[in-house]
């Protein structure tokens, strides 16, 4: 009971835990001076009626932002799969085993199934390996441009190798005889 009170106390608004776990400031609350200046700048620019400068349409494809974009996209897509998979199998009457049996009964060729397994494995491995690379950046390691390019290609290639290894290593279980 006492420990419960202590825990509640530590979760008070101004406590270290609350401040660390709570994500950033809610929009529209008490802007700092520089944030206020920045907001006024944006409003002024919008009011000028000038068009937005082209960005994605003109930027040369580079390993830097491709990998960064891929990191975010794989993260969001995987999160989406987990979200819709989790809620889907909870809400729908079908369960995962039935789902797998249904796919197995389709009798898809090994190449197709292997491709799907690669599509599943690659984002996981890529996001994990690039995560290491990005945490290196947060520690200010490997921030010079040649290293950025090298490690970028290394992550892309190594992820492919590891995912291929995972897919090739996956044993294919024989189709169960229908005895229902």
């Amino acid at each position: 009971m006492l420990s419960c009170y202590r825990l509640c106390g530590s979760l008070k608004k101004g406590s270290f835990i609350a401040r660390s776990v709570r994500t950033s400031a809610i929009h529209g609350q008490a802007k700092t001076p520089i944030q206020e200046w920045g907001w006024k700048y944006l409003v002024r620019q919008e009011a000028s009626g000038r068009p937005l400068s082209p960005h994605l349409s003109i930027y040369k494809p580079q390993i830097t932002w491709f990998v960064s974009g891929a990191h975010r996209i794989t993260g969001c897509v995987m999160a989406g799969v987990l979200l819709f998979g989790g809620i889907g199998f909870a809400a729908l009457p079908i369960d995962f085993t039935t789902f797998i049996d249904a796919i197995q009964s389709l009798g898809l060729p090994r190449f197709v199934l292997g491709t799907f397994k690669l599509i599943i494995a690659y984002p996981i491995v890529f996001h994990t390996l690039n995560g290491i690379r990005f945490i290196g950046y947060d520690l200010a390691k490997g921030m010079d441009l040649p290293t950025i390019h090298k490690t970028g290609w290394l992550v892309v290639g190594l992820s492919l190798i590891i995912s291929l290894a995972i897919v090739l290593n996956s044993k294919r279980e024989p189709v169960p005889k229908a005895n229902k």
């Binding site: 101004g14 270290f16 401040r19 660390s20 776990v21 709570r22 994500t23 950033s24 400031a25 809610i26 929009h27 529209g28 609350q29 008490a30 700092t32 944030q35 907001w39 944006l42 409003v43 919008e46 975010r72 993260g75 969001c76 999160a79 987990l82 979200l83 998979g85 989790g86 809620i87 889907g88 199998f89 909870a90 369960d95 995962f96 085993t97 797998i100 796919i103 197995q104 199934l113 799907f116 397994k117 599943i120 996981i124 994990t128 995560g131 290491i132 945490i135 947060d138 995972i166 897919v167 996956s170 044993k171 294919r172 279980e173």
Partner: protein, 144 residues
């Protein structure tokens, strides 16, 4: 004479610099007291926790390839849900901006990330308890 005056000026300047740095260090408080209502200036500790969590998650994934079972499912669920929550919050902050969609829509978008995370946690927990569980699910998919 000029050399002497230069030396005097140099020592004066260095003394001023010294005084400035001492003054600056005494002005910066070393307390953790929060005086404003925002948590913008606590972003540093939040950032650190996010990265430590992500770094701590790293060994779970190669381990999950070899070790399966309900405990691994639970570890994955906890690690993933929190990581995804923080990640989605960053994405939402980056793209659902007030200048683009208005203050209230931006606030709603950031609040919706909490809803998504709770749904994700609920879905994963249900999957782990009432269905095959994450590691078994991967086993099944990769044995197709």
């Amino acid at each position: 004479m000029s050399v002497l005056s230069q030396v005097c000026r140099h020592t004066l300047r260095s003394r001023l610099l010294l005084a400035k740095t001492f003054a600056a260090s005494s002005v910066v408080p070393r307390t953790r007291e929060v005086t404003t209502t925002t948590v913008a200036h606590d972003h540093a500790s939040h950032f650190k926790i996010e990265r430590y969590w992500a770094a701590g998650m790293l060994p779970i994934f190669p381990a999950a390839y070899f070790i399966h079972g309900p405990y691994m499912d639970a570890a994955l669920t906890i690690a993933l849900t929190l990581h995804i929550h923080w990640g989605l919050f960053a994405v939402m902050q980056d793209y659902a901006r007030p200048i683009l969609i208005g203050e209230s829509a931006a606030k709603a978008a950031c609040a919706s990330v909490y809803v998504i995370s709770i749904l994700l946690l609920a879905g994963l927990l249900h999957f782990n308890y009432n269905d095959v569980g994450l590691t078994r699910a991967f086993e099944l998919v990769f044995s197709l």
